[in-house]
């Protein structure tokens, strides 16, 4: 291990990044641009939000209320529950995005003019559909209430969204922090292309004939991409805060530290895999197939992950994005710091350090 050689690789890699416009774009602005695209795509996509309802009242008015919710098809009734647990179960299975609980005295309270309250449970900020759904649900309820109370002034239906983070779900863009893990795939793509480009061009064969160690080579590649990864993540965070007006409630240094861990994990896995890949084309496809697509569906960014069982859960655990999505949401919406997100941080560290170590062990200094 020689710090001189490590530094030589680091400096060379920084120069490559700075001098190649495509790479520079990949590791600075491209995540922010993708974030804008995804945010608007998800925010305004007319997506059917699946609703589970536990109607404890079973009155004419409660049935009318439910019918008004699903009238235009933007909500669909996916579950008729008979208790908290049935709604929770359906939510765990990913059958429903939102659960609505209509109290037994719903009709009576409204008729008495006292106003009723319905409870809404959304699985935290965990799905994009839920985030959009809460806003829409509030609008629907208000419309229904207005029709009932054209004469009186008091709002007769109060929506009590469960837990304290409902306030954030009201924002159309509450899901933006949860999208950051997906767009932060770009540094992985960039490093995969850089490594395979060096192999394709033949420079790697020259490096084989030098005293470079696997550790120096891999760490020398990793560090510049982590550095630029933090830059691009910061741009994405700034965009979320300034443009999408999502408040960052958690401590900034903690978020950045956990971002470094995420980059370490995703780049570490990429470095390991790239040891077995010869061409840039293959590298690109593998990164897309391995990270991008599963991160979309299995990390909990767009769909809830069944946390108890299932084969998807194992894959989900291995995906760095699954842990980082909890981190970005926690830091932004729930004011969580690294102490509260220690488990996720540790997972990311392990997901990074194991493949990185394997990458060193399996590194072949031969053509």
């Amino acid at each position: 291990m020689s710090l001189h050689r490590l530094w030589a690789i680091i400096r060379k890699e920084f120069r490559h990044i700075q001098r190649d416009k495509r790479t520079l774009f990949l590791v600075t602005l491209s995540p922010a641009i993708m974030l804008i695209a995804f945010a608007y795509l998800f925010a305004f996509e007319v997506q059917s939000v699946r609703l589970g309802v536990w109607d404890a009242d079973q009155s004419a008015l409660s049935r009318q209320f439910i019918a008004s919710l699903i009238a235009d098809g933007k909500f669909s009734l996916a579950e008729n529950g008979n208790g908290y647990e049935s709604l929770r179960g359906a939510m765990m299975r990913g059958d429903i995005h939102l659960g609505v609980i209509i109290p037994p005295d719903f009709e009576a309270q409204i008729l008495a003019g006292d106003g009723a309250s319905v409870q809404l449970i959304a699985d935290g900020s965990d799905t994009i559909a839920a985030a959009g759904g809460v806003t829409r649900f509030r609008q629907r309820t208000a419309e229904f209430a207005r029709r009932l109370t054209s004469t009186s002034s008091a709002p007769p239906i109060i929506v009590q969204a469960q837990a304290w983070y409902n306030r954030d779900l009201d924002s159309t863009f509450a899901m933006v922090p949860g999208l950051v893990p997906i767009v932060m795939i770009m540094p992985s793509l960039a490093i995969a292309l850089a490594i395979t480009r060096e192999r394709e061009l033949g420079s790697f064969e020259t490096l084989i004939a030098t005293p470079i160690h696997a550790f120096e080579y891999l760490l020398g590649k990793l560090i510049p991409y982590i550095a630029y990864g933090v830059v691009s993540a910061s741009i994405a965070y700034a965009l979320a805060i300034i443009w999408f007006r999502v408040p960052l409630r958690g401590p900034v240094p903690d978020l950045l530290a956990m971002t470094v861990l995420y980059l370490f994990a995703s780049l570490g896995v990429t470095l390991f895999i790239c040891g077995f890949i010869a061409s840039q084309g293959t590298a690109m496809r593998v990164v897309m197939l391995l990270f991008f697509i599963p991160s979309f569906f299995l990390s909990g960014v767009t769909l809830p992950v069944d946390t108890k069982s299932g084969p998807g859960q194992f894959i989900s655990f291995l995906l760095p994005a699954s842990h980082f999505v909890q981190i970005t949401r926690g830091a932004f919406l729930k004011a969580m710091g690294i102490d509260q997100l220690a488990a996720q941080s540790l997972n990311l560290f392990l997901i990074g350090v194991i493949p990185f170590a394997l990458g060193i062990l399996t590194f072949r200094k031969r053509v």
Binding site: R5, R15, G202, A209, P211
Partner: protein
């Protein structure tokens, strides 16, 4: 074997393709050894195994007494290697490229600046040191590659077709640099498809289909050619070739640009016969004379008799 580069029965098989079939070398310190052969002969594979960047399927090689497979990492400091498909970092300047390899090879302190300056001068690149390597001419790239391979002053240089695709003037310049290194006592193992370059080597191995079919000094190899060589200059090459091939006492006919090279059993008598036959066939003959075979003719002749 006590040579600086030794190999015994070195072989490499890719799937079913036997690229190198049991080649052996014993190369003394200070030699320039030329590995000559057509495309696909196995030159690159051989050099890779000797330079410790590819493991042989069978056989062993030693450079500076170190096993190129088991002691490959110890070998790195003593060996410079310029791959056939070598590539500099096109987005780094000439100086940055050399500095990178200097750092990787642990060339530090005062030696670093001195050596880089000297190599830049040596490779006649000192005026271009701030230019991006990617925009250099082909010949300059090769010289920079050589400078990078030599930054740690190795005792042995492996160069795989370093002058391929380079104009003749740059090729000569490259060889002048190699001569200087040779004078400094560096052992050079070089592969090339240009036979004229082989004439500048101290020893040449002719590689064909994975085997070294002949080995010796350029002079010795030239003398392996069977019979005498006649050079015939004629504007009617096609006719001359067809006619000459059918005459008695002819081993072989090769066309070179504006002339025909004919290998015959006895130069003096056959020259007369050929001249008569060609004139009878209506070909004009500008000149017909005995010639000394170059390595080129020797090699083609050797291969065609295998």
């Amino acid at each position: 074997m006590t040579g600086q580069i030794t190999a015994t029965q070195l072989s490499k098989t890719f799937r079913k393709n036997q690229a190198v079939r049991g080649v052996s070398f014993d190369i003394a310190p200070g030699e320039i050894y030329g590995l000559i052969g057509p495309d696909g002969a196995g030159k690159t594979t051989t050099i890779r195994m000797l330079a410790g960047v590819m493991d042989p399927t069978r056989g062993t090689a030693r450079v500076n007494g170190l096993d190129t497979t088991r002691q490959a990492e110890q070998l790195r400091a003593h060996v410079g290697y310029m791959a056939q498909k070598f590539s500099l970092y096109g987005d780094l300047s000439v100086r940055e490229n050399i500095e990178f390899y200097a750092d990787i090879f642990g060339v530090r302190g005062k030696a670093r600046a001195e050596r880089i300056a000297r190599l830049l001068k040596f490779a006649r690149l000192d005026q271009f040191q701030d230019r991006d390597a990617g925009v250099l001419s082909g010949g300059m790239k090769k010289k920079l590659g050589l400078a990078c391979a030599f930054i740690h002053r190795p005792r042995v240089l492996f160069l795989d077709e370093p002058t391929n695709g380079v104009d003749p003037i740059s090729r000569r310049e490259f060889w002048d640099i190699l001569s200087d290194l040779h004078i400094e006592g560096v052992t050079i193992f070089i592969s090339t498809a240009y036979l004229d370059e082989a004439e500048r080597c101290s020893r040449v191995g002719l590689m064909y289909r994975g085997e070294i079919i002949r080995e010796g000094t350029p002079i010795a190899l030239r003398q392996l050619v069977q019979g005498d060589l006649l050079a015939i200059i004629t504007p009617d090459l096609q006719i001359a070739e067809n006619v000459a091939q059918k005459l008695p006492g002819i081993f072989e006919v090769q066309v070179y640009g504006d002339r025909l090279h004919v290998f015959v059993d006895a130069g003096a008598t056959r020259a007369r016969e050929i001249e008569i036959a060609l004139v009878a066939a209506g070909a004009t003959i500008k000149q017909i004379r005995p010639a000394a075979p170059h390595l080129q003719e020797a090699f083609i002749s050797l291969i065609s008799h295998l």
